[in-house]
């Protein structure tokens, strides 16, 4: 457990010092919401706008996930992590925690911006976003580790991640909190159990 916390802390500290990912995510989500404002016809229903919020969130998450393993890749840190005497699932959990933190930080800006640009948000949507973050981080961290091992890298992650994220969008737009919780539970367990294989021989 302390390994997990140390790894998550490392990621957050790195981001605090370098400020590479989070400002990009914030600008991206604001730009996306602005584009959506112009893409929507005037006087569109709330439901349509809420759908756009979810696509903005998924693509912003994708942006963060693409960056998540860049340091590990460029500094050859995977080898060090695999050699370290810690449970390999702790690497996944640490990275997933830091991804959740990034997503939450981006949404602290994105949700009020959405409320100001389009219309107010209910508690249900906020709860759905929080649950979706867990699912996105769980699946995205695993697929991010896979994508970084391939030659296509940045190209590969959206292809791997987006089909799997479709149920999150369905649950989020419909406000099915129980479904999002179910998704989180299933994929978190699966990712936790299989992460070891993904980085074992990377």
């Amino acid at each position: 457990m302390s390994d997990t916390v140390a790894l998550a802390r490392k990621d957050l500290l790195l981001e605090l010092r370098a400020k590479e990912t989070l400002p990009a995510m914030l600008l991206f989500v604001l730009a996306a919401l602005t584009i959506f404002h112009f893409a929507l016809p005037r006087g569109t229903s709330d439901v349509a706008a809420r759908g756009l919020l979810w696509s903005a969130l998924v693509f912003t998450a994708l942006l963060g996930l693409t960056r998540a393993f860049v340091a590990e890749r460029e500094q050859g840190m995977f080898d060090a992590l695999v050699l370290a005497p810690c449970d390999r699932s702790a690497i996944w959990l640490g990275k997933a925690l830091s991804v959740v933190a990034f997503l939450a930080a981006a949404e602290v800006v994105a949700l009020p911006a959405f409320a100001a640009f389009f219309h107010g948000l209910g508690g249900r949507t906020i709860a759905a976003v929080a649950l979706a973050d867990i699912g996105i981080a769980a699946v995205g961290t695993l697929f991010g580790a896979m994508a970084v091992a391939g030659r296509a890298r940045e190209l590969l992650l959206p292809l791997l991640f987006l089909p799997t994220a479709i149920p999150i969008v369905v649950g989020g737009v419909g406000g099915y909190l129980w479904f999002l919780a179910l998704y989180d539970a299933i994929f978190a367990v699966l990712a936790w159990a299989t992460f070891e294989y993904v980085i074992a021989e990377a």
């Binding site: 149920p167 369905v170 737009v173 099915y176 993904v198």
Partner: protein
């Protein structure tokens, strides 16, 4: 080599049954006969993905390279059958509803999601250099796929209202005896076709690996 002969025989029987034995649907007419292709192909595709995931699990357990190739071949066949499902479903939708694609047809949408997911499997596989690392990742991704099937199914059910004719419900199949018989034969024919193609492709892959080994020995 008895399987290809058996497949040919059962497939021929299935085609004969579909066109000459099964009754013409009172509501949809002749075009309903595509049902006997569409649904067995879809079920076979699920069987392929399931088999691929099972082999993936075997690989992660045993680290046997053969299981990795078998998993890949099964998923490859699954994508081929999945593409056929999309095409036959589209044709059927055009014939009975007048549109090529209907978002409220949840089986078709599920296949689209799965098709996208499993196409990314090939992107992943061909983006990583051959070796245990690639086999591991492919296996993990195959396992995610088989879990994604029920989750996506539930998601699509939640998101849509249905105009899809539900043939199987809690009261058993809503078909007459002759329809059900034709359907079963068609399903067996498709599964046999999968088994044959699976064997052929697997033999090819093994031959490929064998030739590569020999070439390495020679050089």
């Amino acid at each position: 080599m008895k399987l290809p002969a058996l497949t040919t025989a059962v497939f021929g029987a299935a085609v004969a049954l579909i066109f000459f034995y099964a009754p013409t649907d009172a509501d949809q007419g002749f075009s309903q006969r595509i049902f006997y292709f569409h649904v067995p192909i879809a079920l076979t595709s699920y069987a392929c993905f399931g088999w691929g995931a099972w082999k993936a699990l075997r690989y992660l357990r045993t680290r046997d390279e053969r299981a990795d190739v078998e998993s890949y071949v099964a998923i490859h066949q699954g994508v081929v059958f999945g593409a056929l499902t999309l095409i036959t479903g589209s044709v059927w939708a055009k014939a009975s509803w007048g549109v090529w694609w209907s978002w409220s047809e949840n089986q078709l949408v599920l296949f689209l999601v799965l098709f996208l997911f499993y196409c990314a499997y090939f992107m992943l596989r061909y983006s990583v250099d051959p070796g245990p690392s690639r086999a591991n990742m492919s296996a993990v991704y195959a396992l995610f796929g088989v879990v994604l099937i029920p989750v996506s199914f539930l998601a699509i059910r939640l998101s849509q209202h249905f105009i899809h004719p539900v043939v199987f419900n809690s009261h058993g199949p809503q078909m007459t005896g002759s329809q059900f018989f034709t359907f079963c034969v068609a399903l067996v024919a498709m599964l046999l076709l999968f088994a044959t193609l699976y064997n052929v492709e697997l033999a090819g892959k093994r031959l490929d690996a064998h030739v590569r080994d020999l070439r390495e020995l020679l050089t």
